[in-house]
Each structure stands twice: as C-alpha cells, then as structure tokens.
C-alpha cells in the first residue's frame, strides 16, 4: 500500500518509513502540513499518518483543507505526542479514522494497525 507520513519530526518519519518499507509498503514523507497537503493530492496515498502539532499547517488544518473526495478515499491515522486535547473521538470528528498517541511502544504494531485499517476499513 501507498503510505504518506506527514510529520515535522524527521526521526518519526524515518523510522515509520523504514518500518513500512520493511513490510513491503511504499512510504513517502512530507516535512510539514503544507508539504503534506501537496503530496497527498499528488500521490493519492491509501493511508496517511498525520501529526497534530506541526509548524505552519497543523494536522487538523490539513484535514480541513484537503479535498473531501480525496479524504474519503484515504485511511487517516492521527498521531500526536501531545495527548492533552486529542483522543479517538476528536480524531473521528476531524475526519480521521484512528488516533495513535506518541510515543509508540512498538513501531511494528503501528504498521500492523495501519495494515488492518487498510484491509478492513474503520
């Protein structure tokens, strides 16, 4: 599957991309919200990992601006290191399918969750 990772933290992008590639998925990285929005339209990924707190456009802003048709066709996983104001419910309201708080205990578990989500929908 084609996965887009939108996160301003290079280590997160890199680790997630490598874990996905290790499981034979295509992984693309966007360094912030603006970049993510462009790459999302251009690449049309099957699944997007979207960080909440980013300089410039934040995760929720990206979700608000992305083409709704495109949004419909993509599985979206919201990730955040600041779990204060977000939880699965708020994520759902924003149009995301899943919310995974950072830090991840096991990166491969995250990949597994993403695969499951792609396979079975929400």
């Amino acid at each position: 599957m084609k996965v887009l990772i939108i996160d301003d933290e290079p280590l997160v992008r890199r680790s997630l991309a490598r874990a996905l590639k290790a499981k034979n998925h295509e992984a693309f990285e966007a360094i912030d919200g603006q970049d993510g929005l462009a790459k999302w339209s251009h690449l049309q990924p099957d699944l997007v990992f979207l960080d909440v707190l980013m300089p410039g456009l934040s995760g929720p802003q990206v979700l608000a601006e992305i083409d709704s048709k495109l949004k419909e066709d993509t599985r979206i996983i919201l990730i955040s290191a600041f779990s204060g104001e977000h939880n699965p419910e708020t994520a759902q309201r924003l149009g995301a399918d899943l919310f995974i708080p950072k830090p991840f205990d096991d990166i491969f578990a995250v990949v597994k969750v993403a695969e499951e989500l792609r396979k079975y929908g929400t």
Partner: protein, 661 residues
Amino acid sequence: MLFWITAGEPPTVITQLQSEPIFNDWQWVFTADPFGHSEFQNALLFIVDTDFDFDLFFLEKLKLAAPTRTRVLFGKTATVEKMVQAVNRGEVFSIIPKTSSVEVYKQIINDACIEAKLTDLSHRLLKDSSRQNRDLEKLTAELESRVEERTVHIQISKDFEEEKVSRLRGLIRFIQQLSLCSSYEELIELLRRDLRTFHQVHDPVLIFETDARGPQIVFWRQSRVQTRAWPHPMEFAPHIHLQDPEMSKLLANYFARPFAKALVIPIECLDKTLIPEPVFHLILENSLPESEINQVLDFCLERIQPLMTAIERIRIETELTHFSYRWEKTFDGLKDPIAIIDRSDRVLRANKKFSDHLIKKNCYQSFANQDERCEGCPVPKVLETGLAQKGEIRRGNRTFEVNSYPISLVQGGMPTNVVNQYVDLTQSREIYMRLLQSEKMGALGLLAGNIAHELNNPLTGLRSLAQVLRAEQKNESQISKDLFEIEKATERCQKIIRNLLDFVYDQDHKLTEVNLDDLVEKTLPFLKTAMRMHRLQKDLKATTHFVLAEPQLLQQVIFNLVHNACQAMEKQGVLTIRTEVFEQRVRLWVQDTGPGIDSSLLVRIFDPFFTTKKEGAGTGLGLSLSKEIIESFHGQIGVDSVLGQGASFWFDLPLVFKEPQ
C-alpha cells in the same frame, strides 16, 4: 335638845328647872308624840314620864328609833323587876324618882344631860371615825387598783417596746444581709428566710424586667433559687394588691400547680431615667386571713425602702458586670492581638489573642518573648509625637504590623497609654507565597507540556528507529544488543516524561484510589539528582492497598519529604523509604541519617515559612503545604527525630477497599 315625854303637863318643878343656868344650852321640848316631832332627830336626851304610858315596848321602840340617845325614866317606879327590865331592855341611863327634891332632879337631869352629850359626842366620834375608816379603806382600795392598773400598763408597754426592739433588730439584720446580696436570687433567698416567721406566707417570687432580655422570674423550687424568662408582658402596678387573682392565675399556670392568694408589692426603681423603665414586682403567695394580712404588709413595707436600694444596687452591678463582660468578650473576640500599655511598656490590659498565658511585666516579654523592646516597635514614636504610628515587628517566625494609637487621659496632654493592635502579616504573605507557588506550578505545567511534546517526538522516532533497525538485524549481533539498549533508554525517557506530565498537570482535582508504593516509584525518578549521593533503601509493603487522594498532590508530598531528607544529609547518608499497613491505615516513612531536628523546633516544623535552610534554598512552605495536603485527605503527618540520629518524617492515610478489577 331635851325631849320630855309626857301625856299631860309636866310638874311645875320641872318646868322651872328649864331656866336653871346649867341647862342654858338645852332646849326643852315637852311632847306626847316624840316620833312625830319635827325635832326628833335633834333630841339628845329623852326623859320619859312613867305616868305617860310607861311600858317596855315604848322604851324599846325609842331605843330602836334613836339608839345613840340617852334615855331617862321619871316617876314612881312600879316594881323593882320592872325597873330592872327597863334598864336592861330599854337601856335606861337613870331613873328620876318622882318624889325627889328639886336638887335631886337637877342633879340627876344634869348628869343625864352630861351623859347625853357624852354619848352623843362619842357616837358622833364613833360615826366620824368609822366614816373616816371607810374613806380610808376606800382610798386604799382605789390606790391598790391604780397601782395594779399601772403595773399592767407598764407590762404592756414593756412588751410593746421589746417587740419593737426585736422587730427593729430583725429589720437591721435584714438590711445588713441585704447589703451582702449580689443577685436577685440571693435577695429572694434572704426574703424567704425572713418571711418564715409567717407560717401562712409561702416562698416569695420576684418578677422583674430591667433590660432587653425581657421579663424574668425568680423563684424557689426544688430547694434552690431559679431564674427563668417570664412569658408575660410586664406592666408596673402602681399600688399594692392585697390579693391579685390575675397574678395568681398566671403563676398557677406557670408553676402548673394551684397558687394561693397573691400579695403583689410593686418596688419602684430609684432611677427612673432609664428606658425601658425597670419594673420589679414582689409576690407573696399566702393563705392569710384578712385580719393578719396587715401584719405581713407592715413587715414588708418596713423592708421596701431597703429592698429598693438593694435592687437598684444589684441592677447597676449586674449592668456593669454585663457591660464589662461584653467589652471583655468583644476585646477577646477580635482576631488581632490588642494590648493597652503604659509609658514604660507595661501591659495594663490585653485580649486573649495577645497572650494566652499570664501577662508578664512588659509587652515585649509577653508578646514576643524577648528581653528588650522589639525592633521596629512604633510605641516610642507615639509617645514622642502623640500621634498614631505603624511599625513591623517579628515574633518567632511571624511578622506583625503594629498599629499604635495614643491614649491621653488628660485633655490635650501627652499620651499616658498606648493601644497596640498587632496584625499578623505572615498569613497574608503566606497566601501570597502560595499563590506564587501555584502560579509557578501552573507555569511549570505549561512548560512541561511543551517540553514533553518536544521530547516525545524525537524520542518516538528514536525508539521506533531502534526497533526498525533491530528488526533488520538478522541475528543477535552486537548492534542488535546496542539498539535494544537504545530502545530501553528511550522508553525510560518516555516514562519519565509521562510521570512528569502527571506530576505537574493538576488535571481534574479528582480523588482516586492511589497505591502509595506505585506513587513512590513514580516520584523517585525525579529525585535522582537529589539522591545521587545517598544510598536508597526501599521497604514497600503496601503494594495491594489503596488510599483515597489526589495523586499529583500526594506525589508532591512524597517529593517534598524525600527532597528534604536528601538535603538534610550533608554527607553521604542512607535514605529509607518504608510503607506499612496497620490499623486500617497506610503509613509512609521517609527517614534520613542527617543531623536530626532539635526538639524545640519540632513543634514549629510544620508552620508556614518555618525553614532551617539557607536563604533562598527553600520557601518554608514545603512542610506546611504537605501537612495541609495530608490533612485534606483525612491523614496525619508527623516527625520523629533524635538530635544527631536523623529524622523520620511520616504520614498516614486511611485505607480504602478497592473493588477488584
């Protein structure tokens, strides 16, 4: 007067005798009916002519009619026997023989005349003397009766005087005792004792109204005097009621028993300027007959004036007592310490807040426990300027603002005394410091949130990357092991960040079931720097027990205690943290091997701003906040310490039974 009793003419010789000089003072009456003669009473001598009608009956009749007169017989004598009878029965003085010579006649008649005069004289004398005797007797009797009468009078007046004296004595005694009475109760008791002489008068009752408390009733019941509120309005009765049926009814209802006649005596108050006008009614329950009521009334009236005076005195005394009591209570009720001192700092009066114990000589000794005037005391300036001044002094670890006001008892003169009001500034500072503390915590929370985010992101990447790289290693190579270490380190970092967030975020102030052992484990990582020099001994035995608390606050307490313990140990020491369950409580000990705490400081160690640390090293709020937190969760906090052997701070909290999940 000489009566010659004859039927016919007396013999000539006799008539001639009339003119004899010896008979000059004699008036001769010749009559046949002496009893019918007007001069009968005046006749001293009766000469009865035997020719006339001589018989003994006539003589006897004459003797009866004039017993004290002399009787003489004239004429021939019948027989000797008849003569003897005449002498014996007629009591004839002499007999003049008819045949005698003129001389004999003269002689005998003269003798008879003398005898008659003597007899008359003696009779009159006798009569006089007997009359005098009678008079004397009468006088004597009169005298005796008068003496007796006088004696009786004297006795009566003596009794009267004695009674009066004893009454006066009673009155004096009453007045004396009255002067010792200091309450209406004592007054009623005294009256009750005094009225005991009257068996038909029962215990007296006093109803009065002097102030806003309303009418009061004082009475004797169950062998003691009692005072209660009188549930009826009071109106001053201007006159004495010998029998007030209305009052009897009210009192019968009040005492719930029959009440005999009520004698109501109003007692006027001397001071009539007061509002509301004081009213006193003395009520005597009695079953006196009407004839005796006056006696009781007199008894009472004699006592009214002293009673009025005594009541007035008691009223004023009570008012004064109340007044000063109210002032004292007001004085003591003020939250700030207040003292009145004189020019040489001696405490004249002070409220309880000023000093709980005996007031010592000077204000600085009593208040601040110092031997000299407190630094910053404004009193000297007040005395100098005569104006109110402000200053700040310290007592122990508390700061007081002293507001000093001058008092001058002499108009316009220099202050003789000073009133000091001490306002504890420590408390307001404490509030300020706590506010600051909580602001600090809030800012720290915000900061921690940001830091957590900033750290969490790279940490997540690091850990995940380590996991990915390790997964790419085919076998358990050295790199794989290193990567595992990296992963573990990042995990530890993440955990610390999470705990830090929990610690500084005052999330929702909710009481939750907390396991103390867990909380200790979560808190210790923050204290690694503080503990780095010391050896840690953990002995946690409350792993399965829970207490109800706000975890963040409790964590602060643990943090404080451990941090303090580490700071207390200057050299390398042993820090012991123990938990134990006993008597439905969990107790946690934090023990150090520092220098220990002086016993004099132990009592104040939980006071706000109490600190032994160097300036700037601590706020002095840690332990006082900890105490507040622990007590808010119904716990207790304390410290055991022996100088030179370290200190052991502890707190305990009640256990809760957590439902098994």
